[in-house]
Every structure is written in structure tokens, then in C-alpha cells.
Amino acid sequence: MENFWSACLGRFEKELSAQQFNTWIKPLSHKVEDDALLLLAPNRFVQQWVKDRFLPKIQAFAKETLNAPINVDVLLMDNIEAAKKQLKDDEAKKPETANKQDGIAKKAAAATSTKKTKAHSDHSGLNPAFNFNNFVTGRANQLARAAALQIAENPGSAYNPLFIYGGVGLGKTHLLQAIGNYLKDHRPEAKIKYLHAEKYVSDVVKAYEHKAFDEFKRQYHSLDLLLIDDIQFFAKKTRTQEEFFYAFNSLIEAKKQIIITCDTYPKEIQDVDERLRTRFSWGLTVAVEPPELEMRVAILLKKAEEAKIALTEEVAFFVAKQIRSSVRELEGALNRIVAMAKFTGNAIDVHLAKEALKDLIAVRGRQITIENIQKTVADYYKIKVAEMYSKKRSRNFARPRQIAMSLARELTNHSFPEIGEAFGSRHHTTVMHACDEIEQLRQNDQTIARDIAFLVQVIRD
């Protein structure tokens, strides 16, 4: 059986293109159990592909060579097996490059290399939650998505670099991650790294501290796909820019794909070296725009569906009309609506959405002070602010003054004595009396009640 699989490998290597062989056949490990040949695939994608395309061939080949049908299955390698296989492959590769060095260096190099590759496979920085399927497309981002998909299918050859720019929270990171995940699924052996520009900066700093620029270079220059987010964070970091310049050149030369996101288009990036900015626009530059209303609704509906939440179009439209700027805020709004519905046990309707959104989009009312209460009330009753502190007792002045006192009590944390002080050094019992009287009036006189409700509104906003 062992021999049969090596014969199989030999045959596939001849029949398939090198790329096909490396993508589908080489990552497989095999096991013989109870006369059955078990092929272990590193991920579901490869597993399915091999099952569909290559299993019949293997069986046909078995008939041909062994004159007997063979029991063969393709299973999913568990993670440990996958890691082991990766390590073995890397060790096998290592001696070719390290042969020229002396023995000790060779050992050291092999050791660091395996360690590094292991870390690399753990730290591609990819989050499988971001893929092309759950990226909602609309007019605002269809070009960027199309370019991203094309590059994911054909990295290094179509547009290099791809430069995606746009405002915050519009899905740039989602696209970046989707490209990475796509490539990872199709070419599991590809070296992919996603990172935020800030992380790159801190890697440069670390390399500086440990005098480890060779190691740093090796790490970045050997990638098949570099996804770097928010490149504007390179501003004023000259050493980082220099290192990135080398990495950029070396990757582009080797036809390895680079994808960059930024909050603005290349020419506009502040405090970044001219030669980098020029290079950023060598490939394709695409924008993601803020989503239009229909797209915001679609995003909400999609997110709700993913979270298995019943969201009506009416509510989705309501939320999408309130929140225009970023997809992150849309998601935040949905989160809060769901949390509120769960907490209160109420169904999600426009009324609930309105309540939930208050906290998220409320404009901060100005600081409420006794002074602005006095001014607002005086303006409303068309008297001078000075009458708030004056000793005049005519009803025309006294009533507004009392209303202002009671509002000061209600809307600020000041004590009765403090309020009295602010109204022409009146005794605190006067303020207490005013509060009681206004409270009475509020309950018995609709005009006063309406006036006060209006004033509260004005003062709060």
C-alpha cells in the first residue's frame, strides 16, 4: 500500500501541472489503516477538491496496477497533524539553502526557520470571519470588490500593488482579509501575512532594538501575499518607510502580491516619502465610498441574518436613515438594538430601535448651568436677565424667577442655598418655596406645564 501511494504520487507529478500538484496533491499526508488508504487534507477545501477530482483517478490507477479495487478515503487532517506536516516540509526545504553555510550556522538557521514558520502559520493575522460571501456589495464598493476578487484568484499578476482607500468603517479591512482567506483556502501553502501598519512600525522598532533586521527582512521578503492595513500610520516614521520600501521592491520584483489600504489616495498621504507614494500608485488604486441608503439597509439585513435575528425592512430602513457614516456604527446600532430587545424581552420594532439608538447618536447637550437657565427663561418671558437677581416682586418678574429656580433645582446638582445665592442672594427657603409653588402650578395649570416642558427641552439641547 505504501508503494502504491508513492507510485500514485509519481504518476500525478507527471500528469498534473506543477502548480496543480503543489496545490492539491503535495499537501496531503497518508496513513494506512486496515488495508485502507487514508489521505489527510490540510483543510476542507482541499479535501473536497481531491475527493471530487482525484479520487476516481486514484481508484482507476489502483485497478490498473494492483488489479484490485482499493479502499481509499480523504479525511481532514487535524490541526496538530497539519502543523507537523508543515514543519516537516519546511525542514525538508531548509538544507538546500543552508548547505553553503557551516554546520553550526546550518543547525541554528534550521532551528530558527522552523520556529519562525510555525509562528507564521499561527500568525498570518487572518480572521476567517471575513470572506467575500459576507461582504455586502453596492455601488460604493463594487469596483474595489471586483479588483480584490480578481487579485485573490490571480495574486501577483493582475494589479500590483492594489491600493484600496476610503473613510473609516467602510469595509477596507474586510476586503483585505477576504483576499487573504481566499488565497489561504486555495493555496494553503502560500505565505500570507495580514497586519495593521502600526504593527509593522512596532516590528521595525523591535528589529532595531534587537539588531535583527536580517531576520525582519527575511520574514517580510519571503511572503507570497502581504496585506497591510492603514498605511497612513507610516507618517513621519522614516525608518519604517525605508524598510517598507525595500520590502515593497523585493516583493513586487518577485511578483508577490501586495495590498494596501489607506484613508486617502496615494498622492494625498501626509508625511510619507515621495518614492513610496509613487510606488503605491503603480498598480491599481480603488476607492470604497460610504454606502448609500439601500446598501446600508442590505448590510443591516445581512448582519441580522448572520446573527439569526428577525429584523424587518422597516426597522432596517429606520436605522440606516439615522446612521450614515460608517458600517461599524451600523453594526454597533444593530448590536445595541439586539441587546435591548433581549434585555427587555420586547420585539424589535421602530420604537425600540429609536430608544436604542439614542445612546449611540445623541448629540451632547450643552453643560447646564444656572446662568443659562436664567438666560433661557428670561428670554422666553421677554424680561431682562437682571430681573432674575432683582428684588422686584411683581408677578411679571417673580413667576419667571420662580420657574428658573425650580428648573435649576431639577436640572443641576446645585443645593437650595447655592441656587438662592445665584438668584440675588436669596434665602434658601425662598427657593424651596418657589419649587413647591411651581410644582403645584405644573399640576394645575396647563399653560405653565407646557411652558416648562418647552423650556426644559430648550435648556437640554
Binding site: V168, N335, L360, R364
Partner: protein, 211 residues
């Protein structure tokens, strides 16, 4: 001779249980859920932003959350008063946010306004708005009275209702100020060996602040 106070009062540490909830029940619930070791929390609900006026309980909730996170061994990042952060501090918080989001842990941030209203960097502001956002509503006078009483109970202090009424009538009514008055009153009554009464409070208030 003045009685010296052996200060062995156990401090009534802020906890989620001694938070007087008022209108903020949902916010408190979400915080408890995020810090519960038994629940699996979606990444959206691990990030909570609280905002409100001074004295609305932000600091209490942050301190209490920190204690609970430590107890439950949950990675925890907090950022108090984000509206005061300078450029570099905003970038630092931005990085911490991204790291936490890619990994495990809970972030609670507070500020004086809703995320987009503080003039923060857009990339940070939209991230703060991404999780759960709550405005904390200040307590009513009745709820403040309740808060004072439970604070007193935690200190083992006998606090008559008329003292509470007096405080709410004649003192500034923000909670930090009221609580501080209560603590000072407690110490004063112990050193004077007198029960807590309105006259004692009046006497205390005429003293210089540093007793």
C-alpha cells in the same frame, strides 16, 4: 482630647452589586454578561462604551468591572474619560482595541459624550461605536437617597433618614460629593463618639475640609 481614629474601616469597594442602577439596568446587565466567565460573548459585546455627565457612575462601573475581570481572569482593558486623550494616547487605545478584538478580552471605555461627538480620531470613534454604547443616566434624588443608604449600610453606619434628606436639600447633589460627605461624617462621628444626626452634620460642614 481628640479621639484618634484607628482607620480599620473596610472600604466599600465599588462593585457591580452595590451600583445603584436607576435607569441603567441594561448597561449593567451587558457589563455583567461581558465579564461572566461562563458565557461565550460575541466579539461585538465584549466592547462597551459608557458615557454620561459627571457623577453618573462611569468610574464606579470601570473600577467594579476591573475587579470582576481580575477575579474571573478575563483580559481587560479600560479607558476612562476618552475625551481627554491626546493624539498619541488615542493611537495607543486604537492599537489596544485592535489587538483585543483580534484576540480575547473585554474593553470598557468611558467618555462625556457619544462616540462621534468628542472630536476623537474617526478610526477610534467608529470602533468605540462598534460594540455596545450606553448613555448612563444620572440618578434621581430618590435613587441618590437609596445609594447613600446602601453605602452607609456597607460601612456599618447608622444613617437616619433626616440626615439623608438634609444632604439632598443643602449639599451639592452629585454622587461623588454626597458619598465623600457621608464618609467624612462617619469618621467624624467615630472620633467625636457621637451618633450621626443632622446637628452633627451641620457641625461637620462648618469645619474646614481637612479634618
Amino acid at each position: 482630647m481628640k479621639q484618634l481614629l484607628l482607620d480599620i474601616q473596610p472600604l466599600a469597594l465599588p462593585s457591580l452589586d452595590n451600583f445603584v442602577v436607576g435607569e441603567n439596568a441594561e448597561a449593567l446587565h451587558s457589563i455583567k454578561e461581558a465579564l461572566s466567565p461562563a458565557l461565550i460573548i460575541s466579539s461585538n459585546n465584549r466592547f462597551i462604551y459608557l458615557w454620561g455627565a459627571e457623577g453618573s457612575g462611569k468610574t464606579h462601573l470601570i473600577k467594579a468591572s476591573k475587579a470582576l475581570a481580575d477575579q474571573n481572569r478575563i483580559p481587560f482593558v479600560f479607558a476612562d474619560d476618552v475625551h481627554t486623550l491626546n493624539d498619541q494616547e488615542q493611537i495607543d487605545l486604537f492599537n489596544q482595541y485592535n489587538e483585543l478584538r483580534a484576540g480575547q478580552g473585554v474593553l470598557i471605555a468611558t467618555g462625556n459624550a457619544s462616540p462621534s461627538q468628542m472630536g476623537l480620531r474617526d478610526d477610534l470613534a467608529t470602533r468605540l461605536a462598534w460594540g455596545l454604547t450606553y448613555q448612563l443616566h444620572p440618578l434621581t434624588d430618590e435613587e441618590k437617597a437609596q445609594a447613600l443608604k446602601s453605602h452607609a449600610a456597607a460601612r456599618g453606619m447608622n444613617l437616619p433618614d433626616e440626615v439623608v434628606d438634609y444632604c439632598l436639600r443643602y449639599l451639592r447633589r452629585d454622587l461623588p460629593n454626597l458619598m465623600a460627605t457621608l464618609d467624612a461624617l462617619d469618621e467624624w462621628s467615630l472620633t467625636e463618639k457621637k451618633p450621626i444626626t443632622v446637628p452633627l452634620l451641620k457641625k461637620l460642614l462648618q469645619l474646614p475640609l481637612n479634618i
